[in-house]
């Protein structure tokens, strides 16, 4: 005979955590209280395994207005303009139900942005899957892209890019991260603090249903196995139409000065929103669940408190303004319901059917959450990995090799994905998806915001510290080539099971590498997200930090460099130090040799920032094409310029390795003949000339441009059908 596990175990809590709740309350928790603690103390909401390490990130700069901890980070762009940036993950929901998982990820991140008073103006989606020769992975990719398109396009926020990576390590645990950017004027900034005894809590937006119950604790904070399909009811369902109305209603509320504080309802729903608002304001709140608009009449208190139904916001308003707020909700055709009152003291009291169902210190749900310093240990396997570098041939047909690399879906043309996303709405898009970084203008100003998202799980697996630093530098170069200087970072740290010491070691090493690079570049980290337990059947994903880099230019370059502006006769220059030995984690090693081994080259914190500065300077000097060199090497970078410009190129190199090696601090510049680059601080070398009908590597082989372009364009479509 099997006995059912205790309630707290079923909710994902440990015995020790349960005992801590009993200590706080001085009694056994009621069912609704236990439900609240279980979600608020989940890994997803409390960061209990990561908090101790996140303090390493540099978070300060004179332009930081709101740092980590709020719904979004906010930076000052001058002249009264602010930008808000936030990144999140929706990994497990997207595996269980790719379309809705990805769609609600977009919805959630947008609420984080307009909670701050900002209008969301763009979204990016870094996504990772298993190889596309597997039908299930194709289903996941198609579902995720369709879900992002469905929600983003309909809610009316353009999707300006993202990135994609494929590996077996993501087959059973795809990664779906989402980042959003908003802009606002200084006076519109709102924070999520309730204050003022007697003020009123109004729930705005969708009604509350049984969807998404336990999403934070059951889906996002536990590993997966073959029974994970049964977790599908924990995935929320998104309604972009409801969200669109909610965005407009909230922005009008701010404009009219009707809110004291506001909080979106995301993970842990009403539990989280009410307790955070109260705790942030140092007050309490009385909430009556009978006033919450429900989709189903018979929901119990725990279900209502934990529901992650989408498209809901909790606004704190003064009593005199309640009627005006409800009228405004009526105009925008959304629900508006008074569900609570701000009280003195710090108690969150929840009632249902005339009875008290929960009575807890509001701050205890967040501030008293457990904090774990889990053991960390360097995996011994790393020594064997480093001792096994790529075995390079003496000579190589780079043309033929390039063709094989271009057919890889992580290298090939991504337009199959981004042409499904509206990427032009709001008339801000200066550089659209398909370049290094996207660039948006702020209308009526000379300001530009460049954004790039970058990760490389394979590189971080091979050396988390170096990998973490390299993705920061890559992201910095990606915005720099549009003329924007790196300005702020958000990060999404996707890792395996933190209860394994080697995963914790990867995590800590990654943070160290990223932090050092951010410090060298002078870029503050203004927010982030941690996603642990990306493990299925005991197999962990690659450690996959994803950097979201915001670049800022004022003014924007008069002529912004683009990949499609190369012309026959122009010179191709390689700027930055060459590193012909850096083959660990390159596209060549992965696609052609199917090899994971060796150790990626380290970054150089002296020259790295100088290379970034040179890219910014050249973008403003009228250089028509600037292009970051990534793990595909110079060969892939040149080919991408060729495809976008419809023009061949001839590139010469004594050593074939310099065409395919990685090396962290390099970019290409394509300039008219005789153009003086005036690069003095870092190495610069002319490597070739645009023109002809081939991508021609001289004695290292060549490939017809039309053939190469065809292979590149079809890499994803031919697999997706």
């Amino acid at each position: 005979m099997t006995t059912e596990a205790p309630a707290h175990i079923q909710l994902g809590m440990t015995d020790a955590e349960y005992d801590a709740v009993v200590d706080i309350l001085g009694r056994e928790p009621r069912p609704a209280e236990l439900a609240m603690y279980s979600v608020m103390w989940s890994e997803h909401c409390s960061y209990k395994s990561s908090r101790a390490w996140l303090g390493r990130f540099p978070t300060e700069a004179p332009w930081v207005v709101v740092g980590p901890g709020e719904n979004a980070g906010v930076v000052d762009l001058g002249d009264g303009w602010l930008a808000a940036l936030r990144i999140e993950s929706h990994n497990h929901p997207s595996f269980v139900e790719p379309f809705q998982g990805a769609a609600t990820g977009v919805g959630g991140i947008l609420r984080d942005i307009f909670t701050m008073g900002a209008r969301p103006i763009a979204v990016w989606d870094p996504i990772r899957f298993g190889p596309l020769d597997d039908a299930h992975n194709r289903y996941l990719l198609d579902g995720v892209v369709s879900g992002i398109a469905h929600y983003g396009n309909a809610v009316g926020v353009p999707t300006l890019g993202g990135e994609i990576e494929f590996s077996e390590r993501y087959s059973a645990n795809p990664l779906v991260n989402v980042m959003a950017l908003g802009i606002l004027k200084q006076e519109q900034l709102v924070l999520s603090a309730a204050s003022g005894e007697g003020n009123v809590a109004i729930l705005l937006g969708a009604s509350t249903g049984r969807d998404g119950i336990g999403g934070a604790s059951i889906l996002a904070s536990a590993s997966f196995d073959e029974s994970s399909g049964a977790k599908r009811p924990s995935v929320q369902i998104g309604d972009p139409f409801e969200e669109k109305k909610l965005i407009e209603a909230c922005l009008e509320l701010y404009e009219r000065g009707l809110v004291v504080g506001i909080q979106d309802l995301g993970a842990a729903g009403i539990s989280c929103a009410t307790s955070e608002c109260a705790a942030n304001g140092g007050v309490g709140m009385v909430v009556d669940l009978d006033d919450v608009p429900l989709r189903e009449d018979d929901m119990n208190a725990g279900e209502i408190l934990m529901s992650e139904s989408q498209e809901r916001m909790l606004a704190i308003v003064e009593p005199d303004d309640v009627d005006e707020v409800l009228e405004l909700a009526e105009k925008w055709e959304i629900n508006g319901a008074v569900i609570g009152t701000v009280t003195a003291g710090g108690t969150l009291e929840v009632r249902q059917h005339g009875e008290v169902v929960a009575e807890v210190p509001a701050a205890s749900l967040s501030e008293d959450a457990p904090l774990y310093r889990r053991p960390a240990e360097r995996p011994e396997a790393l020594d064997r990995l480093w001792a096994d570098p790529v075995d390079l041939p003496a000579g190589l047909d780079v043309g033929e090799t390039l063709l094989r690399m271009l057919d890889d879906p992580a290298v090939g043309d991504r337009s199959w994905i981004y042409q499904q996303y509206d990427h032009q709405l709001f008339l801000n898009t200066v550089i659209e998806p398909g370049h290094d970084g996207s660039l948006l203008r702020i209308k009526g100003t000379t300001k530009g915001l460049a954004v790039s998202t970058d990760g490389n799980g394979r590189l971080c697996f091979m050396d988390p510290r170096r990998g973490g630093a390299r993705i920061v530098y890559e992201s910095a170069l990606n915005v720099a080539v549009t003329g924007a200087r790196p300005f702020a970072v958000v990060d999404n740290l996707n890792f395996g099971n933190p209860e394994k010491p080697e995963i914790m070691w990867q995590f800590i090493e990654t943070i160290e590498g990223m932090s050092a690079a951010c410090e060298a570049l002078g870029v503050p980290v203004i927010g982030g997200n941690v996603s642990f337990y990306n493990e299925t059947d005991g197999v962990d994903i690659f450690p996959t930090p994803v950097v979201g880099m915001l670049g800022f230019a004022d003014p924007m370059p008069g002529h912004v460099p683009r990949l499609d502006q190369a012309e026959p006769g122009m010179e191709v220059w390689l700027i930055g130090p060459e590193d012909p030995t850096d083959f660990a984690g390159t596209t060549y090693s992965r696609v052609v040799l199917d090899h994971v081994g060796g150790r990626p080259s380290d970054v150089d914190h002296t020259i790295g920032p100088k290379v970034v500065d040179e890219a910014v300077r050249l973008a403003h000097a009228g250089v028509p094409v600037l292009h970051d060199i990534s793990v595909g090497g110079a060969a892939v970078a040149v080919a991408e310029i060729c495809f976008r410009s419809g023009c061949g190129a001839r590139v010469d190199s004594d050593d074939w390795r310099t065409l395919l090696s990685a090396g962290p601090h390099r970019f290409l510049a394509v300039v008219p003949p005789g153009f003086d680059l005036e690069v003095t601080d870092v190495p610069a070398r002319r490597i070739g000339t645009m023109g002809g009908n081939h991508i021609d590597f001289g004695r290292h082989g060549r490939v017809p441009l039309s053939l190469a372009a065809d292979v590149w364009r079809n890499a994803i479509p031919r697999r997706m059908g």
């Binding site: 398109a149 396009n153 309909a154 809610v155 009316g156 309604d239 972009p240 139409f241 409801e242 669109k244 109305k245 105009k331 925008w332 055709e333 337009s415 981004y418 042409q419 499904q420 996303y421 509206d422 990427h423 032009q424 709405l425 709001f426 008339l427 898009t429 200066v430 659209e432 203008r441 209308k443």
Partner: protein, 235 residues
């Protein structure tokens, strides 16, 4: 000059291009105003634009609910009176659903959302959308839709081909072919107008191609046509 002519840009719940259209109208010298879909009196306006987006979430069918929004009775009255009325993307779908333009727009041939620039050939200048253009002009303008595939019964199509088709999908040199058809539209139709030429609709977004910094200014000629059409009509 027609500076200051007032244009009502209708905002349905779920519209999302209204601000872009208003920005474009302002840039081209008109005086736009965002008008909520519950408004029933547009007599102060010289023209009406139904912008893109997902009116009422596009639930049931694109435009199917929007055509019953209170403002649409007034839009129909103005359209009948000869006032310039333009529908862009979702606005075009609504005009078709409301019967102000013939035919309908269904899901793209490949069942994928399409966001990319397309080439359009001007087929007729007898409309508020094309009067300033020249037949045969080729324009490069972004398309952004899932239901952009124009369909109509054969007799309606035959009738429409007598000057009602104002824009067709083409390639860069103006040749109209299947290869240049992004979404499966019958006869490569991208934009049409009514018999009077005062009501026009198109799937691509001319307001997204009005400034060099955004990659194309080819949309200007279409929106300038509309602005130039805003002579006061007694309605």
């Amino acid at each position: 000059m027609t500076i200051g002519r007032r244009v009502a840009v209708i905002v349905f719940p779920g519209s999302n291009c209204e601000r872009d259209v208003a920005y474009a109208m302002q840039l081209l010298g008109a005086d736009p105003e965002l008008v909520w879909h519950r408004e029933t009196d547009l007599s102060e306006f010289d023209g009406v634009i139904l912008p893109g987006g997902f009116a009422h979430g596009d639930y049931l069918r694109t435009g199917a609910i929007a055509r019953f929004s209170p403002v649409m009775t007034e839009v129909e009255r103005l359209a009948d009176a000869g006032t310039p009325v333009l529908g862009i993307c979702n606005g075009f779908q609504i005009l078709c659903e409301a019967g102000l333009l013939p035919g309908a727009l269904v899901a793209n041939r490949d069942l994928k959302f399409i966001c990319r620039p397309v080439h359009l050939r001007v087929e007729s200048t007898d409309s508020v959308l094309t009067r300033a253009a020249t037949v045969g002009d080729v324009l490069r303008i972004p398309l952004n839709s899932f239901e952009g595939n124009y369909v109509a019964p054969a007799p309606v199509l035959d009738d429409l081909e007598n000057g009602g088709v104002v824009l067709r999908y083409s390639d860069a040199d103006g040749s109209v072919s299947d290869a240049a058809n992004p979404n499966g539209s019958l006869n490569n139709i991208a934009g049409i107008a009514n018999g009077g030429g005062n009501v026009a609709g198109l799937m691509p977004h001319p307001e997204r191609a009005i400034e060099t910094v955004l990659g194309s200014t080819d949309g200007r000629i279409l929106l300038e046509s509309f602005v130039a059409s805003l002579d006061r009509v007694t309605a």
